[in-house]
Amino acid sequence: MTEVVLALSVVFITASVLLVIANQFGFSPIPFYIIAGLITGVFVDQPELVELAQWGIAFLVFVFGLRLDVSDLQSVLRDGEVVAITQVAVVGPIAVIVGYLFAISFGFDEPIRNAIYFGAAATLSSTIVGAGVFKAELRNNLVHGRLASSIHLFDDLIAIAVVLVLSAEVITDPTVVTSKLGFGVLFLIAGLFIYRHGFELLVRAADGTDELVLMGSISILIAFMAAAEIAGISIVIGAFAAGIAIRNDRAESLSMRNGIESIKDFFVAIFFVTIGALVQLPDLEGLLIASVLIGLVLLVNPLIQLVTFLYEGYDSRTAFLASSSLNQISEFSLIIAIQALLLGTIADALFDAIILAAVTTMLLTVVGRRYEDQIYDRVVAPLVGGRQSRFVDTHSQVDERLSGHVVVIGYGRQGRQLVERLTELGEPYVVVDNDPALWEELDAECRNYVLGDAQNDYTREKARLNEARLLVSTVDHQPVSRSLLAVETDADMIVRASSSSEAADLLDSGATFVSVPSVLAADGLVDTVREVIEDDRELSRIKTEQLTTLRELERRGLATRFERS
């Protein structure tokens, strides 16, 4: 007991110190957990920690299942599937072959299995790190954030399948593998079966008490894990199915989700630290494997994705930003690695290499993000520029004599309303958007439009920004606003920001006006608040008025047609 407590003390105290540092510099916590592990590994050697780390895996996957949204799956099918499949189909086999060559030349036992471990690590990318880094982009509905998160989701699902297959003792025997897959499918079916009524039943059984609902959901998790253990498949599958079983989005489940999140954070910290602690000082073999792995993840993966995205019709900046957010090793690969270590089927050198490469790539993602615009401008843009211009040409329609017009950046809900108003006023305009999914609508609804990246010179030239009288950007993304303001033109510039401090910076950089939704919305709101406080009979009038407005907006097709702002 005391040994475990002492080991946990070392784990958490080291992790805390490093997290404070990570926080200071804006890094993701995961690589720092692993580094904490590398440090603590020197002092503590606790088999009990590995047991606790398994709970970290279970909760990590459980929460993944708990959050999995069917509509997310649909968006994967809409956006990312070609790229995701191409990546898995191209990089996967290459990486497995490389892994196999390593396994043969270094004389690992079970070369095929080790090759698959290597392949999985090289192919899959991380959700937590990626999602953390791209939270803002996702929130603002930027195309590259959406693409990246779709691919992450796809990779995670692949990872679960890989875990399932690898839990077979003999992967070369098709009957064993099929029986594992069969069990896995059964678990998923059980999870989906309970999903419809699972949470309601739980709430009813617990009589609505939050604590009991939480404990009940953990009991379901443990039951699924135990069943997985009995069926001889990985607990990862059990935890995933359990997450799906009690998935619920409603407000009543909020405190259960919060609770599970807390418990997850606790065990996940132990999991990542333990992983670090299990790493030995790598020898030459390990370092070689690690560097090849890093090369595949940092260079080959993004390259394949970039090319596929471009082929799909995304502009080069979106393609670059989306693919560069995918260049780190997935935490699921770490799960695969530690499970393999527990089964005793992974070569030590390979295990060390995967963990080291994971730390390196996760750190580089955060660092790289700060320089990605420079990297794009210096390296990628010159390479794909010509192709880009041809694409913009074939996907745009602009009157060549246009001048004194308004350039509207972004064809989301705001953009559409602006275009409507401009049409009413009879003012000429050009709409610029970079989402290929909107191309047909642009073509049908706008007289002048450019499908391209607003940060790209050719797009701006195409939109005749130099001749324009006014530019209105509805895109809430600093780099876009900044690069627009840097253009030398006489046009007035209205850009968008999400906070006043950001807006003030943009005003200093020369914006005519910056629309900050909360500032613009506050005007009307304060009046409404005052009216209501003075006389609460006003409420029903205001409410009726607004419902009428909403109906009007919906009638004009401005509600959800494409959920963007």
Binding site: M1, T2, V5, L6, L8, S9, F12, I13, A15, S16, L19, A22, N23, K135, E211, L214, M215, D249, R250, L254, S255, G259, S262, I263, A269, R413, Q414, Q417, L418, L425, E427, D492, I494, S498, S500, S501, L507, F513, V514, S515, V516, P517, S518, V519, L520, A521, A522, G524, L525, V526, V529, I533, D536, K543, L547, T549, L550, A559, E563, S565
Partner: protein, 421 residues
Amino acid sequence: MVVLALFSADSLDNASEIATTLAVIFVMMGFIGLFSILSSRYLLPRLFRRIADNKDVFLIVAIGWAFLFIAIAEGFDLSVEVGAFLAGISLAQLPYSKELEDRITPITDFFILVFFASIGLQIEGLGSLLAFWQEAAVASVVLMVGNFWIMFYLIDREGFSVETSFIGSINMVQVSEFSLVVGALALAQGYIGPDVLGYLTLMALLTMTLSTYIIAYNHAIYERVSPWFSRFEDGKKADREIKEYNNHAVAIGYDEITERALPVLKDAYDDVVVIDRKTDHIEQVKDEKQYEYVFGDFRHKEVRKAANLSKASFVLSSSVQTEVNEILLAETNDEAVVFVEAERIADARRLYDSGAAYVILSTYLTAATLCEYLEQYFTDPSAFEAATQADIERIRQRQVATNDSSSLFESTPSTGGGADD
């Protein structure tokens, strides 16, 4: 706590040894306690002000802090429980403690489950549990009755009303789970056998089961027995009021929207409580010295409780998360006027159906305003100039007030700030 520390000592053979051990324990606890108080005053506020915005780091550092004390306690040969307790005390002094409480409680619940299950496993079968069943039954009755009267006497003496004293004491008739902690520790140290642990457990089971029903029906019981207790009545006794918000206004998230509405609310209501999950926002509210504040994520129950949401008369939420707003609408009373924010029309409809007085759709409000500005730009340039200048002034003012542009965690959500998770 002292008993726990005492049990963790190596030998407790005679009275003088117990006395010295106790003395040592008090000195040690004094040292750790002093460290805990000093750090809660000087070190922790600075440290946590930096990290409280990031919820993962916040939780892990708090746990790390607990383990630091556990390790120190272990180093002094005190029990780990004592260290954990003292760490908790120092963290509780922080303004962020409500938020932390809500993050830590589920972890505690999880381990309590494991702990009680392991107590059950340590008792060797039904035989051990029932070895002293008669004694346990008698002790339970004595304990429940005795506990009730002692507590009643103590609370009554403090001058609370009879009802409060009665309800307060009848809610406390069960055996504390600490007795099981002590029991488990004693068993581990070999002071008691499994039969005694069984006896303790049986007592806990009996009293806890009974007290569940007693607590559920405490007011009904009081009504039945109140005639007998009327002899304790005395005109001077009255419950002291704990300051509790009532008929107040609550603002969720401190952003441009709520900031401008706060003065209006302050004019109409005595108390205006701001809930926010960002340390610098809370600092600003604190600096204005006008409004009350609660640091924390509105998703967390303790945070909502601290703002006494159910008694609020006016609530303004600048969170666009529908689930947050739905909880809000469910927890406020029917008379309260609730303004919430939504991103999409479908969400707005749902919120109206759940009882929202007004749903702020800032995307559409912005679009509408922007369209108006656009029209003015072409038709009435001076009006455009005037309108945008007024907004720009507000932006500049707010910028001076916030000055948070250097934050590395711009992207972390501030529920209830206006940002989306």
